[in-house]
């Protein structure tokens, strides 16, 4: 058995079961609370400036009232293996983390060219168009583990890297391997139907790895070759929606 103290580098991944998703937006809310995501107000949100790191996409076919809705699709940063956002940043603010195998946005380094966001096929990146201040006592609820971002920089989903690092540190301090399911990002933690499953893709026995081998597994815009770390399950049974 390898020494857990020296073990670095996991590949983290996520599976989202669209057949389980009810579109309740709990993940969006939890993500905002965990990651100090600012509220941009109604006007800016309607103009495509909301700072959500995860969004629940909803589509329908046909004209009202004969509408047929498609499964809800929560979209977050896909933490690509070949990320289009990384090479285009002129100042190395968008980089790949060796330890977690995710894309990291270095807030301090970002100068705000927004090239990464243009090049992201998933449109998962959001920009701080203004200094959005937390209203009222909400500024007391900021998470001390996460940087508060200022105007002019890009941000995006980190797979709750602060929780990953904390989990790794705890396991290392206790001299043991991390258990599957020990690290849970805020969105997965909040999901009432457990549609979001998070874990290590480099462990073939983890739940996320087993679900990824499911016959329903697809990846978003697979044809672009971005090698996303997020896998979607859909096309099986549907729970209570659409008949």
């Amino acid at each position: 058995m390898s020494n857990p103290l020296e073990e670095v580098g996991h590949k983290w991944g996520m599976v989202i079961d669209q057949d389980l998703c009810t579109g309740c937006q709990a993940c969006v809310t939890a993500c905002a609370m965990e990651n100090n995501i600012a509220f941009v107000g109604e006007q800016d949100a309607a103009y495509g400036r909301s700072l959500q790191w995860i969004r629940v996409e909803r589509f329908w076919e046909g004209e009202f009232p004969e509408v047929k809705s498609t499964p809800f699709q929560p979209v977050l940063c896909q933490q690509c293996g070949q990320a289009p956002c990384e090479p285009v940043c002129p100042v190395y603010a968008s980089v790949h983390s060796e330890n977690q195998q995710i894309n990291i946005q270095v807030y301090n380094r970002c100068v705000g060219t927004r090239y990464c966001a243009n090049n992201c096929p998933y449109q998962a990146r959001v920009f701080n168009w203004r200094d959005y201040r937390e209203p009222g006592p909400l500024d007391n609820a900021l998470n001390p583990d996460v940087t508060v971002r200022r105007r002019g920089i890009m941000e995006k989903c980190t797979f709750c890297v602060q929780r990953i690092v904390q989990g790794e540190d705890t396991a290392r301090a206790e001299g043991r391997q991390m258990a599957d399911g020990e690290v849970v990002p805020a969105c997965a933690q909040a999901c009432p139907t457990e549609a979001i499953v998070f874990g290590r893709l480099d462990d073939p026995d983890s739940l996320v790895s087993r679900l990824k081998r499911d016959g329903r597994a697809v990846q978003l815009l697979e044809e672009l070759g971005t090698q996303p770390s997020v896998t979607y399950l859909k096309g099986g049974s549907s729970y209570g929606r659409n008949g």
């Binding site: 495509g48 969004r55 289009p84 285009v88 002129p90 380094r109 100068v111 243009n118 920009f127 168009w129």
Partner: protein, 476 residues
């Protein structure tokens, strides 16, 4: 029997009058021409100062105040959003870089190919390069979220040991635009030296001090001319690849991205031709204004020059149409679902009128009007056509940037772009360009006197049999 060619006066009076229409065949004494240029530089009216004052206020309010407000508030006061992360800022950047191409193209390319009609207006075009690049630089810095950290794009030694990311087309862009700005400023300066020396010898007071410093002690000896000619020759040849590379690299900002409508391999030459299209049209506009408002300029800038520029505009318009069609056809033929959606959005979306206006101004207007020599020779017409072409080229960049950005592979995020403060800032850059040009027109000789004189010395009328022909001797 060998034909003897010797300079003689034209046979008839009518022939003489006709040849006098050409600047090169209508020489004036050197002293008189120098005095004419000096006079044009010194003459200002209350209108000039009034317009300069108004432009100064516009620059102050629309450029510096508005920009300061945007820096303190964040880009939220502009119209950029998701998915149109790049808006009019980048449209203006590409537009101004396009304008700046005119100077180099008209000056260096026509100089290299020894096109004689270039002589009186190379400087007017070169000034546009430098001033246009300043506006392009301002526009791209406006667009940055944290402009106060923009020096991080420059490769400089620092404590973090970090260099710019040379994988990023924006890093290439930064280097290319800076190279072009430096090279074009030097290329503007070199042919200016003899004229600055001329101005130094004919002015007094503060002007004399400034010209004495800038003329670098040029006296016009054979040795100085030989060095200057060599330097200008090297720069004229060397700056051409720089010019082509700059706009190609600007095109790569888009072409290298993975987006429907952008990832097109033909964008490099397409953008270069587009830049020349707007740039040469802008030269025509500037010449009309210079000719109409500055003293003695009707002698230097004549119908023949507008005629020649008009032909150039027509050819470039055809080149642009060729690249547009090529780009369009291959994208459409590719059959990609998102590209088809994007093309449909261009042609029949709510902003389809911009797409249509682009084609009308860039293709229909020049093709239908510039065939006609009478239209080409009339400054008024050329101003209107130049203006329309520039409107069309601005629309082209608007279609490529904010309108194309609206469509991406995630339909849930589709969102239209409504410009905000960037319109004000765009007006600010335009006013700044005009203001810089106005001031420069009274500070440096706008006509390269030595170049005109050289051309007039090289041209002569010779009798060949019964015909009188123009002969150009090789002076350089």
């Amino acid at each position: 029997m060998a034909a003897t060619a010797k300079p003689i006066a034209p046979a008839t009076h009518e022939e003489h009058a006709e040849s006098r229409q050409h600047l090169m065949l209508d020489p004036r004494p050197r002293g008189e021409m120098n005095a004419m240029v000096m006079e044009s530089m010194h003459t200002t009216s209350w209108k000039f100062w009034g317009i300069a004052f108004l432009l100064g206020i516009v620059v102050l309010v629309c450029l510096f105040l508005a920009w300061g407000y945007m820096i303190s508030e964040g880009l939220g006061v502009a119209g950029v959003n998701r998915p149109a992360y790049w808006g009019i800022f980048l449209v203006n950047t590409v537009f101004w870089i396009g304008i700046s191409h005119a100077g180099t193209f008209v000056s260096a390319l026509l100089r290299v190919f020894k096109a004689e009609f270039r002589r009186p207006f190379t400087r007017a075009a070169e000034l546009m390069t430098t001033f246009g690049l300043i506006q392009a630089g301002l526009s791209i810095f406006m667009h940055m979220g944290r402009v106060w950290l923009s020096y991080w794009l420059a490769p400089y030694p620092n404590a973090r040991g970090l260099w710019p990311n040379f994988h990023s087309p924006l890093a290439w862009d930064f280097l290319a635009i800076n190279t072009y700005l430096l090279a074009s400023t030097m290329y503007l300066f070199l042919p200016l030296i003899p004229d600055l020396a001329m101005a130094r010898d004919r002015s007094t007071g503060w002007r004399k001090v400034v010209y004495r410093v800038l003329a670098l002690g040029f006296r016009g000896t054979e040795g100085e001319w030989a060095h200057l000619r060599t330097a200008m020759n090297i720069f004229a040849f060397a700056i051409l690849p720089v010019m082509f590379s700059v706009h190609t690299i600007v095109a790569w900002d888009f072409a290298a991205a993975s987006r429907p409508g952008w990832s097109s391999t033909i964008f490099g030459p397409y953008f270069v031709v587009g830049a020349l299209h707007s740039g040469v049209a802008a030269v025509a506009m500037v010449l009309v204004v210079v000719r109409g408002t500055m003293k003695n300029m009707k002698y230097f800038i004549r119908a023949e020059h507008f005629d020649a520029i008009g032909k150039l505009m027509l050819v470039i318009s055809m080149g642009w149409a060729y690249f547009f069609f090529n780009d369009y056809l291959v994208q459409w033929y590719g059959g990609d679902h998102w590209t088809h959606t994007l093309l449909a959005w261009h042609e029949s979306g709510p902003l389809a009128w911009i797409w249509g206006l682009m084609l009308v101004c860039n293709v229909a207007v020049p093709w239908f009007l510039l065939w006609n020599r009478k239209i080409r020779s009339r400054p008024g017409w050329m101003f209107v056509i130049g203006l329309l072409i520039n409107v069309g080229m601005w629309c082209e960049r608007y279609v490529i940037i904010p309108i194309s950005l609206t469509i991406n592979r995630m339909p849930f995020t589709w969102q239209s772009y409504r410009p905000g403060i960037e319109i004000v800032l765009g007006i600010g850059t335009l006013a700044f360009f005009i203001l810089l040009y106005m001031l420069a027109s009274r500070l440096v000789p706008l006509v390269p006197v030595w170049e005109v004189q050289e051309g007039q010395m090289a041209h002569s009328l010779r009798k060949f049999g019964r015909k009188t022909v123009v002969s150009v001797s090789e002076l350089e």
